[in-house]
Amino acid sequence: MGRVGVVLVSHSAQVADSVAALAASLAGVPDAPVTGAGGLPDGGLGTSAELVTEAAARVDDGAGVAVLVDLGSAVLTVKALLAEGDELPEPARLVDAPLVEGAVAAVVAAAGGADVEAVAAAAGEAYDYRKV
């Protein structure tokens, strides 16, 4: 059984890819199973179901994928893909977590071999790290 893949969905390709690089770097895992799915195929702002399914396939290592999202159409697009049933690798989870902090926690957990539920839980706990 491989590692859980982490997919970061943002309206912006730069945000998604940069947060993926940041999370891998902070996790200290150069080949971390994380990738971005940001913006539209033409480079514009938005959410592309196509880019999300491609990203999920890229990081799918047989253990499923945890998907973190920013807002609005990113949330709805991933929910619609999950409802479809056959668009994302199994098991796939939409993780309720802040994008940046959640991505770091998810990547650390995934790189350490946690299953998809544990990865989702680790990312969700990021909501509890108070800043003030």
Binding site: G46, T47, A49, G72, S73, L76, T77, A80, L81, E84
Partner: protein, 208 residues
């Protein structure tokens, strides 16, 4: 167009093509409405999505198109989810896919059957977006339209247009417009407006 007649796959394809024409014609207006309370991309997003639906219907089954009403709606819905690029993609995609799934393999459907299938789709949209009537969303046009549809396409169209107009005094409670709070009052909701276009195109499914 006789509302009581059996609606086949050809009707559903013509409906989607008519909707694509209407979206193309009204895209600038949809974007203007979205510029007032959203991010000014609704017209462009819907135009891109329905243009892809048009292409998908023409190239499916080597040009013959999908063979059943359900297959037409499923194809259109899947295409919208993957091409629109904004929240309306998954929302309209869910509406049409769920309605298509509800129609199953039936070769034809009557207006009452179409209304029941669309109600299944509208319920799925409400669940996906967590919205209800009065939140200033596409549901404000779709729910009255589905309620009126058993009385015919003209009644459904009138109900959808009235529902879209009735979003003007509402405060948005879902989506990007909800960030504006009270400043969203006084503008017609772009999603309700495009929903009224989709319902209005039904009457042209007969090919007249």
């Amino acid at each position: 167009m006789v509302d009581g007649e059996a609606l086949d796959a050809g009707f559903f394809s013509r409906w989607m093509l008519a909707a694509a024409e209407d979206v193309e014609r009204e895209a600038d207006r949809l974007t203007e409405l979205d510029a007032a309370i959203g991010d000014a991309d609704h017209g462009g997003n819907m135009r891109r999505g329905f243009e892809a639906v048009r292409t998908a219907l023409r190239t499916d089954a080597d040009g013959a198109g999908p063979g059943t009403p359900g297959a037409v709606l499923m194809l259109a819905g899947r295409t919208l989810v993957s091409t629109v690029g904004g929240a309306s993609g998954p929302l309209y995609g869910t509406l049409l896919r769920r309605a298509g799934k509800a129609l199953g393999d039936a070769e034809t459907v009557d207006v009452a059957g179409l209304a029941a299938a669309l109600r299944t789709g509208v319920d799925a949209v409400a669940q996906l977006g967590g919205a209800a009537v009065g939140d200033k969303t596409m549901l404000d046009a779709l729910i009255p339209a589905v309620d009126a549809l058993p009385r015919g396409f003209a009644a459904a169209t009138a109900a959808a247009e009235e529902g879209a107009k009735a979003t003007v005094p509402l405060q948005a409670r879902k989506g990007r417009a909800s960030y504006l709070g009270e400043r969203s009052i006084g503008h017609q909701d772009p999603g309700a407006t495009s929903s009224a276009l989709l319902v209005g195109a039904l009457a042209r499914g007969g090919g007249a």
